[in-house]
Amino acid sequence: MDALLDVRDLAVHYRTAAGPVRAVDGASFTVPAAGIVGLVGESGCGKSTLGRALMGVLPRAASIAAGSAVFEGRDLVTLAPAERRKLLWRRLAFVPQTAMNALDPVQRLSAQMQEVLVERGGLSRAAAGTRAAALFAMVGLEAGRLRDWPHQFSGGMRQRASIALALALNPALLIADEPVTALDVIVQRQILDVMRDLQARLGLAMILVTHDVAVVAYACDRVVVMYAGRVVESGPVRAVLEAPLHPYTMGLMNAFPDLERAGGELVPIEGAPPSLLNPPGGCRFAARCPFAEARCAQDPALVEHAPDHQVACWRAPEAPALRPLASEAATWAR
């Protein structure tokens, strides 16, 4: 498979007084040239950090400790900052979470569009105006609203505007960090539809960072499941969600109330993710895993168990047998 982005053993560490926090600890996955890859996991699993690391905007205290992220043949990790800047927004763009103050509050949308189009895209001001209107139309916003200030937009509209901004320079890869988390279901669905639609029309690649398996199921082609800074499972959405190989993925699927599934107890995953300050050796999920065995004290590698379906679990071969067990609350209870 021809990967647009190939992330290998990427590690991002936060320096703290107590020592390094391994927010991302050897994550590996690939992103094909087109399609939406869902990056899913609980808060603190490192998925957002990973997105920011790719964009090169880690906070002061954080740095990439190891690994590579080859994007269009060049390693983003080792690329000189000036070179990386050339890629940013032109090849690699970002859609932030709505709740965040991602649009400059004292600049009109038009100015923020112009800035990107003129300064980074090299368009004339007039051309930029036309392009901005077109982009707004593309995400379902009236061109007239370019004159507005960000605070005049509702959450959904702000997210549309962010998407329009991200698409301004026709990037090859769009990283969307929890783009719909703070939105209501109806708006969430609308935004997801916009993203799917644009992906299909423009044929670009997207990484959709989310904590919501349902969003992945709805919008993504592939999924990467992260747990405690590592990728535990990845593959096509259908394969991973319908036949999860990793107990954590199984648990995640069962922990969700399903609108269309009647009654029954939800199956919680007891406990909490490990501290990333001093993560335990071996499988990170072992402490919470009902299927953990002695060998789980060894680190399982992320290996391909089925075609295009990777998992990091010693008991992956037994997955078909474990899956029914995982759907029972008694299995997880202790």
Partner: protein, 299 residues
């Protein structure tokens, strides 16, 4: 078994010792400020022991010859004033007046400001409107001119000064406390207190007040500085407490006697430096809490 990581016990040092040690390491500014405070507090307490002379006594050199402008020596560490008084002893005793002015003013600023800020923020409604209106009016009064006018119209003295400084400064504290309370009021645990039957007073004083205490203390430490500077300025302009021994009055005395032209640095530099140090201490303490107050700034 609950999640192992979150429950993991930290080392066995008692909480406050650990917190203090951590604070000292992380907040050099605040530590410096506290050290200065401590130095002056000790000086003030033992002023009688530290001072070499009675700061008010006019000293003589032989019969009817006042010992004026003596240079620094082992008997007069900082020399004597034009009036024949020992500068060092005045400086030492000045710390009492400075702390007295600073601390009492700050105390009232903090108490009044916090109390009204709490009431205004939590109770809202007409209480809020009345308190904030009064605050607006006071903020419409020019600070130093007001202090001067009050000093001129009443008997000048430390009490007048402290009272007018407190009167002028509480609105700043009240406003900040109020906005803090407004946001605290929306916090879940305050709402929870209401749902679980807490009386309004208990919510204000047991639940909310401890939360705003650091902020109030910060404004208090700044008020200490303001009060001391105001005392100095008022003294310089001739509106100080004439009976006090204060750094401001020392500077006034030195300037009136043209210590500058005489080049008597040992007279007019030390009181200025003491003022700078004590006021600075307040700023440093408050800056030390910057990270506490604006965690956003911490990386």
């Amino acid at each position: 078994m609950p999640g192992a990581s979150a429950v993991a016990r930290r080392p066995v040092l008692p909480g406050f010792v650990r917190a203090t040690l951590g604070f000292l390491r992380r907040q050099p500014f605040a530590v410096a400020g506290l050290a200065i405070y401590l130095l002056f507090i000790v000086t003030a307490i033992f002023a009688d022991q530290i001072a070499t002379h009675d700061p008010r006594e006019i000293l003589f050199r032989g019969a009817y010859r006042v010992a004026r402008y003596l240079p620094p020596s082992t008997t007069h560490y900082l020399g004597t004033t034009a009036g024949g008084r020992d500068v060092f002893s005045q400086l030492v005793h000045g710390s009492r007046s400075a702390l007295q002015v600073g601390v009492t003013a700050a105390f009232f600023v903090v108490v009044i400001g916090t109390l009204l800020g709490l009431l205004s923020g939590y109770l809202g409604g007409w209480v809020d409107r009345v308190i904030m209106r009064i605050a607006d009016i006071i903020l419409g009064l020019p600070f130093l001119p007001f202090v001067l006018v009050i000093s001129a119209l009443t008997r000048p003295g430390t009490t007048t000064l402290v009272a007018s400084v407190a009167l002028m400064l509480w609105p700043n504290t009240a406003r900040v406390i109020r906005s803090q309370v407004l946001s605290l009021r929306e916090r879940g645990w305050v709402e929870a207190a209401r749902v679980t039957g807490c009386s309004t007073w208990r919510i204000i004083f047991v639940h909310i007040a401890p939360q705003v205490a650091p902020l109030a203390a910060l404004y208090g430490s700044i008020a200490v500085g303001w009060a001391i500077l105001t005392e100095a300025s008022a003294s310089f302009l001739g509106f100080g407490d004439p009976a006090a021994i204060s750094w401001g009055l020392m500077l006034q005395d030195a300037f009136a006697n043209q210590a500058l032209s005489r080049g008597v640095w040992s007279w007019f530099v030390p009181p200025g430096l003491c003022i700078v140090a004590l006021v600075l201490a307040g700023f440093l303490v408050s800056r030390g809490s910057e990270k506490l107050l604006f965690p956003k700034l911490g990386d």
